[in-house]
Symmetry: C2
Subunit: 85 residues, 2 copies
C-alpha cells in the first residue's frame, strides 16, 4: 500500500507540474513568448534538475516524477522562447 505521505507528494507533484501546462500551451498556440523571462526559466530549469538529483538521493518517487516532468516542460518553454523570441 502506498504510504499516505508519498500519495501527498504525488498530489503535490501533479499540481505543481500541471501548473506549467497552460504556459506551454499558450506559448505554443500564440507562437509568442514575449512576456516570458528567459532568465527565470533557465534558473527554474537548473533548480529543477538539482531537485531531481536531491529526490533521487532521498529515494522520493514523488520528487523524481514531478521534477522529471517539470524539467521537460520548462525545457520546452525555453525552446519556444529561443525560437519565437
Amino acid at each position: 500500500m502506498i504510504d499516505k505521505f508519498e500519495l501527498l507528494g504525488l498530489v503535490a507533484a501533479f499540481l505543481t507540474t500541471s501548473a506549467y501546462v497552460p504556459q506551454v500551451y499558450k506559448t505554443w498556440k500564440t507562437k509568442s513568448a514575449g512576456n516570458i523571462s528567459l532568465t527565470m526559466y533557465i534558473s527554474m530549469f537548473v533548480g529543477i534538475v538539482l531537485w531531481l538529483i536531491y529526490g533521487i538521493h532521498l529515494n522520493s518517487f514523488a520528487m523524481i516524477v514531478a521534477n522529471s516532468i517539470t524539467a521537460i516542460l520548462t525545457l520546452i518553454i525555453i525552446g519556444f522562447k529561443v525560437r519565437y523570441k
Copy 2:
C-alpha cells in the same frame, strides 16, 4: 558539517524560489497581472503547500525553506492578480 546533498537541495531551493521574484517585481511595478493565469498560480500554491508538508515529513530543511518562501511569493502574485486583474 552540512551534508552535500542538503547543500544541493539548498542551491535548488534558491534557484527555483528566486525564479519567482522577477514575476512578483514585474507585476508590482506594472500594476498589471493580465497575462498571469490565476488557475496556474492557485494550483501552484496548493501544490507548494503540499510539498511543504511532504518536506516536513521527510525532515528536509531545503524543501521546508524552498516551499515556505515560494508559497509566500505565489500568494503575493495571487493577491496582485485579484487586485490588479
